[in-house]
Amino acid sequence: MAVLEVKKIKKSFGGLDVLKDVSFSLEEGQVLTIIGSSGSGKTTLLRCLNFLETADEGQILVNGKLLTGSHLTEEQIRENRLHFGLVFQNFNLFPQYTVLQNITLAPTLLKQGSQEEIQKKAMELLDKVGLTQKKDAYPCQLSGGQQQRVAIARALALNPQVLCFDEPTSALDPELTGEVLRVIRGLKEQNTTMIVVTHEMDFARSVADVVIYMADGVIEEMGTPEEVFDHPVSEKTRHFIQGTQQAF
């Protein structure tokens, strides 16, 4: 069964239709990458999944459980969010907390186990992103790539069923993107279900099980990396792919 089903999601801001009828589903352990130009609705889609925006219409189901509906209480929205993790473009670490505290804060506030368990889990996650030696550092002492790896560990600490990335390397210096992409690739090997919005075309292709190309608020093309990148059906997709590959 699909871990995530998105059905006919629509979202508009002040008359501007940002998402028009977006549907897809994702199997457990699959990695979905979403590509497309700026303003195509990629980020809004992720924000709807994480309930930072409320979809105007449509349904979101996780493991068959319907999360969307009118009149959700704040409590329900908070619970819904926990099915998803979100890694931001700008990391958004909490500057006043150490790396370790950034990871343990939410599990502690949500009372997810004893302090000992939470600390142990956080250290395991830091190991996973290769930053155990930085556990007592503050975000301002880290490079962008390291901050983003901490942000990934922080999102994983709540065991989300689907981990979302919103252009995780866009704010990084080019030489720092590799370390973040390697972590994401490592998570795929451990069967983490992920949705990655990215402008890194090679990465989008190599890490994905499914690729979605979005344009003007609709899924213009969806398929395996080979289908979307090598044999796109839609003219728009072909044009976009060609544009990203053009040599100077």
Partner: protein, 213 residues
């Protein structure tokens, strides 16, 4: 003469200190409440609070002291409240309004991403405010708050207008005995006290220096 003058001034300074510390005690938290009002999404409340802040910031504290002390009696025939209570009330309302604007500026300067990071981690609104945002706000507003606090030290002298025997009044009372130096002496009290506050705020700033944001 030095010792009796000092004793007299200390008596006045004690009143000054009381006005100062009680005003801070009440106005610092009240200012936060006012700032939430001025940021409310509920327009009537926001307009009301902003209008109130405008009136308080737009009129002299001395006028507010006089109105709060004499107003209830003259307008409604109510019994006058004790001078000291009226003083604390006027100072608290006045400073809460100034603090509220400092808080608002600080809170609104925190990037949206900090709130969103808290939200996607399942935190409640109050957890986000107290555990994520507040310390960052405090770091950002420390300098303007210290400005207001040091201004308050000197504003306490206004309380004499409704009969609070604060330190300048105490110093002035020696003029009729032909002594001017006690007045200068009161200045020393103010300087030392605001110097201590400056050191205190400097330490606080240093304490929050460990993070950037």
């Amino acid at each position: 003469m030095f010792v009796p003058v000092t004793m007299q001034l200390l008596g006045g300074f004690w009143e000054t200190l009381k006005v100062f510390s009680l005003t801070l005690l009440f106005s610092l938290p009240l200012g936060l409440v006012v700032s939430f009002g001025s940021m409310s999404k509920f327009t009537p409340l926001r307009v009301l609070v902003k209008g109130f802040v405008w009136i308080i910031r737009g009129t002299p504290l001395m006028l507010q002291l006089i109105i709060i002390f004499y107003g209830p009696g003259l307008v409604f025939g109510l019994p006058a409240m004790p001078r000291f209570t009226a003083t604390i009330l006027a100072f608290t309302i006045n400073y809460a309004c100034y603090f509220s604007e400092i808080y608002r500026g600080g809170i609104e300067s925190i990037p949206k991403g900090q709130y969103e990071a808290g939200q996607v981690l399942g935190m409640t609104k109050s957890q986000i405010f107290f555990k994520v945002v507040l310390l960052q706000v405090i770091k950002r507003i420390l300098a303007p708050i210290s400005n207001e606090v040091i201004t308050l030290v000197k504003d306490t002298s206004l309380a004499r207008i409704i009969g609070i025997y604060e330190i300048i009044w105490a110093g002035e009372s020696f003029i009729k005995k032909g002594l001017i130096w006690p007045l200068f002496y009161t200045g020393i009290f103010y300087l030392v006290f605001s110097g201590l506050l400056t050191i205190f705020f400097g330490r606080m700033e240093k304490k929050l220096d460990y993070f950037r944001g």
